[in-house]
Symmetry: C2
């Protein structure tokens, strides 16, 4: 028997009610290259309705992908709402990827329109010739002097908005309708798209409002430093609109010094960024008045305890860790000291505890699985692959042809991370099953780097491993066995990679070795290699 | 295009994961007539699985209604989970209703099994003969000496549990599956059932965890004083299990003094009750150490500012109001001072503001509608009928034949309350469109009372109105016009009602009048009557 409750979908148009009624005087403030702009949610809602009219005007059909190359800004926020609220799919793109990957992603998504911050135009220019799906490019002028391409497909955001006919009513009848698309590099070579639906985005935002997660509320001022092209800025823009919190958007002005100044000027209470960014902010935090901050979240990779301690000393509150993936919306775990430990864990012990990912949010189920598939006890000691299930977790990749191995037969996501879970539910990540390097919050695929290096005629074998790095968390280290007497040098490897992979993927260190350790089955024994290289370094 | 997220239902079995893993050492403590019992959530989860086995053993089919007559207790909590987690429908029944209404409700729901606290057995005894649907009565021994009926249908809860075969896996594939049923007296005579589904219960519990709602978290100890037969105890048991908060259940021991002692002994941080109960607690709060309390919620009727002020003075924190109905799961509004006002509203002004229902939760949409159907502005001055929509709001009544007028053509619930909404979303209830009296948090139908009184041969006309009452919030006042020279007295009216309606419905005051004011269309002008009677009193 079915219940008799109203059939109201969990969909993004729900958020318009708050923006237009309860929270119409709350605001989003964006730092641009040419100054700071602020708008009330009432005004933003009006612009969202006009932007919806722009999409109609550009003849973008329901279900079509609308790509964005944008910093964190009010306009990007408008796209976050207008695109999915009208049944189109918001496809946020990481402009820092290598051109070849960008072309692949835009092609794979078949983006019909690209919305591009003017300061990112140079990244998009090469795509105009190679991506036939792109019918329109809408430039968002962020004060950059970058020249506009002379191409009939190029439009100006504000001109289109001014001329648009606002859309009065948004309706997404089926909450499983696709809303947003993000690509992740994942384990294997090609980036894979994760297709979120309205339901998953609304449920995810709801969890961010919970007291034991981020506790985002109407009296918060939220600063997503984490980019809006990075898993929906961890859902923070939607959480802010849902709760009525103010938003502070750093725009293209991402220098640590300016970020700190912005937090201070706008009374930011909640900020989230990858550890690398927090490390950069630290030296500037000392002289600033950051007393408005109530919570600072680090995510997108391990949080070094030393960094959190230093932050605690200088700013007066610890960084709190979190854990998630593009495939998980992303938030799965949010650091918290369980009540049973809150008396015993004080001071510096507490800071240390908050550097672990912590317990899962209420919608995520976790399990640990041993290599042979058997369950691993939650005793805080035994380790296993962390697997996740829930309505905010991906079931497959966009396109569907690749990445099936990321999902178990019973529908759980294999995270590729090896973890322990203690009896209070606190998760600790202890290793990775996948060959990926997390540098500054972004993935670098060791497999891709290896393929490129092994393509050199002078290379016999190559293995790329992650090594700890103070600034970036991890950096790739290439271990190369040359063809005897070929005269291969570290520099020639680096030169070869330049132009073949994104600049920031290129390893600073290339070790030229006689041989690589192998497992019994003939695979590179990366754990052995990592241990020997790291101990060799120290 | 559909998103590619996992198809995981929002259903109560989700909560078992937390009980069995993360929160297995958190606990529920129940005061019984014969002492206090406590059990960990791990133990309770085990008993829930056994109780599921009991339902199988009693051959209760999926979709069947399982009635409960119970105080707030661990066993009632077990029923809250085991019944819906196995696809049956939990039907909580208010034992304080009149026998005739109870018989109607059990019949209308066609309850197959009744779970009854031993101290409530006398209420259930008459139903055994009149309600043919009831195949089993399971007695939960709460230490009361009440005699057991000698009836083959009667079983003992603990004996059944001990013999049961635990159910290992709960699965509710469709989140719209009915989970719970509560009856409300509503406007017209007969009680009407509201049929919640798994989705609505889970979503409602999620909102209680939000920072701007009740902010219930793992470090809370929650005491639902509001009965578990009263709209799922406002969702608090489910919110506690979802968040891992401890629960303190008062059982049948509901004297204000004992409630205060319980809060003190168990370090209760969050408690919720109707205003009448808070009023009773007030004199006992003074000598108690209630410093563990962080939030006290009043609901189920208006919260007098004077009461909240007195509570603030004696206990150090204000009562916070809330608003909802059986039809709304129930929480729609939860008192909160919006950030724009939090600087200006301090001290006693803040206490006053928190006595209003406040802003709505994130899943509820509100609107005000004038009598002619036109929209009313949210300016804090204009008033209109409050209408509500959302996934936690009823779309129809159980059985479906009655109460259709409670819903608009476009699917909103007419609440029957007249309200204003200010630009920050704060709701204030200013009047009622319906003829109901809210006494001690429970509805009394003036229509039913009038019908009973007008059935007296000596009565010409009768109108029952609500008058303010210090203890109960409101009490009914019967205004009666006798047949001339019939010699009708107030006492004869009260005597007539005794045995025809529940004892607590009987008006303390019966005014014998010459005539009743009427509207142009000939209806009783209750507003005029109310005004004249209240001014006559003072």
């Amino acid at each position: 028997m079915h219940g008799l409750m109203q059939d109201r979908p969990l969909s993004l148009p729900m958020l318009m009610d708050g923006m237009e009624n309860r929270f119409s005087r709350k605001h989003v403030t964006t730092t641009q290259l040419n100054g700071t702009v602020s708008a009330s949610y009432g005004e933003v809602a009006e612009r969202i309705r006009r932007l919806a009219g722009v999409l109609d005007h550009l003849d973008v059909p329901a279900g079509a992908r609308v790509g964005t190359f944008g910093w964190n800004s009010q306009r990007h926020l408008e796209l976050y709402m207008a695109v999915p609220c009208t049944g189109r799919i918001l496809h946020t793109i990481n402009h820092r990827l290598f051109t070849e990957d960008l072309a692949f992603i835009v092609d794979d998504a078949a983006d019909e329109v690209l919305f591009v911050d003017r300061s990112m135009l140079d990244v998009v220019r090469p795509l105009l010739d190679t991506c036939p799906s792109v019918r329109h490019v809408v430039v968002m002028d962020d004060g950059s002097p970058t020249e506009l391409p002379s191409d009939p497909r190029v439009h100006d955001y504000e001109s289109l908005l001014a001329a648009a006919r606002p859309v009065g009513r948004f309706e997404i009848a089926d909450e499983r309708t696709a809303a947003a698309l993000c690509y992740t590099s994942g384990t294997t070579g090609r980036p894979k798209g994760v297709l979120y639906d309205h339901r998953s985005i609304v449920l995810h935002a709801m969890t961010l409002l919970m007291a034991d997660t981020f506790a985002i509320g109407e009296d918060d001022t939220v600063m997503p430093v984490v980019p809006m092209f990075h898993v929906n800025a961890w859902g923070l823009p939607y959480a802010a609109l849902m709760s009525g919190a103010n938003l502070v958007m750093p725009g293209p002005v991402m220098s640590p010094e300016r970020l700190v100044r912005s937090m201070e000027a706008h009374g930011v209470t909640f900020a989230a960024a990858v550890a690398t960014v927090w490390r950069g902010i630290l030296p500037h935090a000392e002289d600033a008045d950051l007393s408005s901050l109530r919570r600072v979240v680090s995510g997108g990779g391990g949080l070094p305890v030393s960094l959190s301690r230093a932050f605690h000393e200088k700013v007066g509150l610890p960084l709190t860790s979190s854990w998630g993936m593009t495939e998980t919306s992303p938030l799965v775990c949010s650091a918290r000291v369980p009540s049973e430990q809150s008396r015993s864990l004080t001071g510096s012990d507490r800071v240390t505890a908050l550097a672990d990912p912590g317990p899962s949010t209420v919608l995520c189920s976790l399990r640990l699985v041993a290599e042979d598939g058997s369950p691993v006890p939650r005793d805080g000691r035994h380790r296993g692959e962390l697997q996740v299930a829930g309505p905010t977790i991906a079931a497959a990749y966009f396109g569907g042809s690749t990445g099936a191995s990321a999902f178990t037969e019973d529908g759980w996501l294999r995270t590729g991370d090896v973890a322990t879970i203690d009896p209070l539910g606190v998760v600790r990540i202890v290793d990775r099953t996948k060959d990926l390097i997390k540098s500054g919050g972004e993935w670098i695929s060791s497999v891709e780097l290896e393929n490129e290096i092994m393509a050199m005629p002078d290379v016999l074998e190559a293995a790329v491993i992650a090594v700890p790095d103070d600034k970036w968390g991890e950096r790739p280290l290439a271990c190369v066995v040359p063809v005897p007497d070929s005269g291969l040098t570290a520099e020639s490897v680096r030169r070869h990679l330049s132009g073949r992979v994104a600049k920031w993927w290129i390893p600073e260190k290339v070790a030229v070795l006689d041989r690589l350790p192998k497992t019994a089955s003939g695979k590179f024994a990366k754990a052995v290699l990592r241990a020997s290289m790291i101990s060799a370094k120290s």
